[in-house]
Every structure is written in C-alpha cells, then in structure tokens.
Symmetry: C2
C-alpha cells in the first residue's frame, strides 16, 4: 500500500547536451522556461526525488538559477507556494556524469534508463520497468531535448523504454508530454 506522499526511488534528468539537431548532428540546446515548470510539476505529482536540468553552459545555468530563485525564494514563492514545492525538486548539473555522481548511494550508481521517440535496441516493456521500480530499484530516467539524446548517452543505458505511440504513426510529442506520459505509465 502506498502512502499519499510516497517517495519513489526515481530521479529525472533532462539533457541539453549532448543531444541531436535537425540533421542528426550533436548540439547543445537552450533551456526552455516551460520545461522547468511543466516537468517539475509532473515530477512532484509522481513522487520523483530530483529533477536534474543538465547543461554545461554557464549562461544557461545562470538563467535556471534565476528562475529557481524567483520561485523558491523570491516573489513567486509566496505568490504560488505549489510552484515552489515543485521547483524544490529542480537541481542543476553540468553533465550526465555529474548527475550519476550526485545520485550514487553506497557506491551503487542508479539504473540508467533512456527514452527516445524512436525504438532503440535494449528496450524493455513499460510493465517490466514499472515492476522494477516498484521493487525499489533506484532509477534515473534520462530525457533529451531538441531531436533526442545523442547515441553516446543511449549507449550507456542499462535499458531503454519503448517509444511512446498512440494509434497513429506520428512520433513528435513534446518532451513535456513525453515525461508526463512516462511518469504516468511507470509510477501512477
């Protein structure tokens, strides 16, 4: 039985580098304000531990810091306490390696799970992933911005999740929608 405040043993990382550009080249993307808001709210709803916003760019880190300061300590925190609660999960990181370092407990690193709009080798079903998480397996869900995670990231995964498909062959969900759907499938 789950308490209403049950903490899942799951973190999320949203990568802005290295990700794919329009032509499949490796790029770094800009942070999107609404990615912070929407994904923090989804993470808080589904009991995620930390939501890591991953970018190596100092100007982008400064932008994230300013947004966090507004909602966690500034005017936003009193104007909208529910938003503050969501933003309290958001952490900055330079790289996936730093996220793994920060989430390693007792010398055990989290199970690395990547996501993609295209099916990748090494995927397991949502049901199986859900069962592993329910058993308490510490899990890091990794999402890419722009046109998705670079192959060097996907290659490091312990397993990948199947692409989200509806009854059509259109596979261009926003990352905000993809995070929401995947959290609902794995953690509801």
């Amino acid at each position: 039985m789950m308490g209403k405040q049950k903490q899942q043993n799951v973190d999320i990382a949203l990568l802005h580098h290295p990700v794919l550009g329009r032509k499949g080249e490796i790029i770094g993307s800009a942070v999107t304000n609404l990615d912070l808001h929407d994904i923090a709210r989804t993470a808080r709803t589904y009991g995620i531990g930390n939501y890591f916003v991953v970018t190596p760019y100092e100007d982008q880190q400064k932008l994230v810091d300013e947004i966090l300061e507004h909602w966690c300590g500034g005017h936003g925190s009193t104007y909208n306490p529910a938003r503050k609660e969501a933003f309290s999960l958001v952490k900055l990181a330079n790289s996936l390696d730093e996220v793994i370092e920060l989430t390693t407990k007792n010398q055990t690193s989290p199970v690395l799970v990547t996501t993609s709009a295209k099916n990748q080798a090494g995927s397991i079903s949502y049901e199986e992933s859900r069962a592993r998480i329910a058993r308490g397996e510490q899990t890091l869900l990794v999402f890419g911005t722009a046109h998705g995670l670079a192959p060097e990231i996907t290659a490091r995964a312990d397993y990948t999740l199947p692409a989200i498909t509806g009854p059509t062959d259109y596979n261009h969900l926003s990352v905000r929608a993809a995070v929401a759907i995947i959290c609902d499938r794995l953690l509801r």
Copy 2:
C-alpha cells in the same frame, strides 16, 4: 485491430473562458503559445479529430490565427512539416456551444466529458471511459486553463473523469501534461 492512422471519434476543447481564477472567480485567460504546440502534437499522436481552442476574445483569436498561419501556410510549414501536420487539427471557436454545434453529426451532439484537478460528482473510471470510446462513442474532451473549468461548464458534462493523481497528493499538473496523460490513458 487498429490501423496506424486510425482516427478516433474524439475531439478536444481547451477553454479560456469561462474558467476559474486564483480565488475561484470566473475569468477569461490568455492563450499560451505552447498550449497550441504541445496539445496539437499530443492530439495528432493519439488520433484526435479536432483540437478546438476556445476563446471569445478577438485579440486572442487573432493571435491564434497568426500562429496557425505561420505553421500551416508560412515559413514554419516548410521548416517543420511535422508541426504543420499537428497544427492542421487546431480550430478556433468562440464558445463551448460553438464547438458542440461544429461537432454535432446527424443531429447527435457529442458526449461531453469534462476534466478537473479535483474529483467531481458524476465521474466514471478511465477504464470505463476508454471502453466507451473504443465502442465508437463520439466524445468531446473538455479541458480548462487557469484554475480549471467554471462550474457552469462542468454542470453540462455527460460524465467527468477522475482527477489525475500520482502516488502523492500534489494536484498541480500543467494542462499540457494533463492532456497528454488523459489521451494516453484513454486512447493508447
């Protein structure tokens, strides 16, 4: 068996008026650019027929028209054809009544289904709703912006859907996330 381009008999309406403000008062909200993008992409993924953006305000309708023109006919349509495909589902309407008029077929209006972040009277389970839709029941899913649909809208529903909850009691998902999760639960 579903073909990969199966058209569901389901439309979506996103209401900007009448909706609730912070203090429970009736307000009209502004259209958010990313609501158009994210919900159009989700709608296209899940085989939704039309995505009605509902606002009585002329300046807001003009804004929506300009965004649609950019992505459906302007530079955006060649820059990003997948986005054009999603935006082709977007229609403007003045009111819920106009949406119902536009979606009435053979003098039968659609089954009106409302959504809320708080549980309402008259809700049925997602499984039951999913089964009704799968039987081909023509359905209009209604979502509210700001702090949710006005009671006068909810009162008109044929049925409502339960609030989306994760393993916590936090109920402040973005409408973009809520639409994604509900489409996935009902139509995947």
